[in-house]
């Protein structure tokens, strides 16, 4: 199970991936920078949004011209949806546009915090699963809600570490760990990562992966940060697999006490 051997893969809904980093494609300066950061991140899955075509400028460059949907797994999201029906409608369109059933469900409760509306999210998860979708679900860091989502057909549980775009890092390690311990499907921290150490924390808690956008896109140098995130996800995963030392209240010398002069 070492990363050097390349065998540390993870599986969501029967699909196997090597990279445990999923990156968003929003907020970049341009498509070129987005594509360069994606390459540096090593990610195999990218989230994308579904929006109206600009019918007055139909020849404008499109994301798919810069990031090949055959090379990367596009994960359509429902960002901006505040209710069940608009989220489902969005994903039906996404499935028709791209032919993909693996999707990211995200139903927001309010604009200020972008916290998920878990009642709408749970209902939408059930409906989408019945329609043959494979929903990876953005959710509150609530172990009970996570179980309910799993029962409703979520193929991955994606609790927030902190509010979307906040960069505050993982606010409650205990609840993330409780979700990891209770889940039979992959758990990915989605939202809240600000810098590399935050991603490492998520992986050290035993998460299967991390999803981020702003932490890379709003870095001074997004391509360099993308690489740092790739390394931190690998480092955190390695530390989790290695099994960290126990915590002690007081010091324990590393050099032998015997033989002192």
């Amino acid at each position: 199970m070492t990363q050097e051997s390349g065998s540390d893969t993870w599986t969501v809904a029967g699909r196997r991936f090597s990279s445990r980093l999923i990156v968003g494609t929003g907020k970049y300066k341009d498509f070129e920078q987005n594509a360069a950061a994606l390459a540096a991140s090593g990610a195999e899955i990218i989230t994308v949004a579904v929006r109206r075509v600009n019918v007055t400028d139909p020849g404008a460059p499109m994301l798919t011209d810069f990031i090949d949907p055959k090379q990367y797994t596009y994960l359509p999201n429902t960002a901006g949806c505040f209710d069940r029906d608009s989220a489902i409608r969005t994903l039906r369109l996404a499935r028709e546009a791209g032919g993909w059933d693996l999707v990211k469900l995200e139903i927001l409760g309010e604009a200020k915090t972008l916290y998920p509306d878990m009642r709408e999210t749970l209902q939408a998860t059930e409906i989408l699963a019945k329609e043959g979708f494979l929903p990876m679900v953005y959710c509150a860091d609530d172990p009970i809600a996570a179980k309910q989502l799993e029962d409703a057909g979520a193929v991955a549980i994606m609790p927030l570490g902190a509010p979307i775009g906040s960069g505050l890092g993982i606010q409650n390690r205990v609840t993330i760990r409780l979700i990891v311990e209770g889940a039979k499907v992959p758990v990915l921290v989605d939202a809240g990562v600000g810098t590399a150490s935050d991603a490492a924390v998520a992986m050290e808690l035993g998460c299967d992966g991390v999803l981020m956008n702003t932490a890379i896109a709003e870095a001074k140098d997004p391509v360099m940060m993308a690489r740092a995130m790739r390394l931190s996800v690998e480092a955190g995963r390695g530390a989790y697999l290695a099994g960290r030392m126990g915590r002690r209240m007081y010091a324990d010398p590393s050099s032998p006490l015997a033989g002192l002069i």
Partner: protein, 76 residues
């Protein structure tokens, strides 16, 4: 016949991506061609129902249709 009377004869009124628009009567594939869109890169919803890409050339627009044409953009 001049353009105005031509529009009166064969044009229909639809709502496309939230905006009122007068277009030539025809299929959704015809509409995509008219506005210069590649149907392979978009998805179409007509009156809240998905129109499968394989049927875009068969589905004819009707006066008053509500159309949404979407594609993938950057997002988190």
């Amino acid at each position: 016949m001049d353009k105005d009377s031509f529009d009166m004869a064969v044009g229909i009124n639809i709502t496309l991506n939230g905006e009122a628009r007068r277009v030539l009567a025809g299929s959704i594939a015809d509409l995509c061609a008219e506005i210069g869109l590649n149907p392979a890169k978009v998805a179409v919803e007509r009156n809240l129902m998905i129109v499968p890409r394989s049927t875009l050339a068969q589905v004819m627009l009707a006066d008053g249709d509500q159309l949404e044409i979407v594609h993938f953009v950057g997002g988190g």
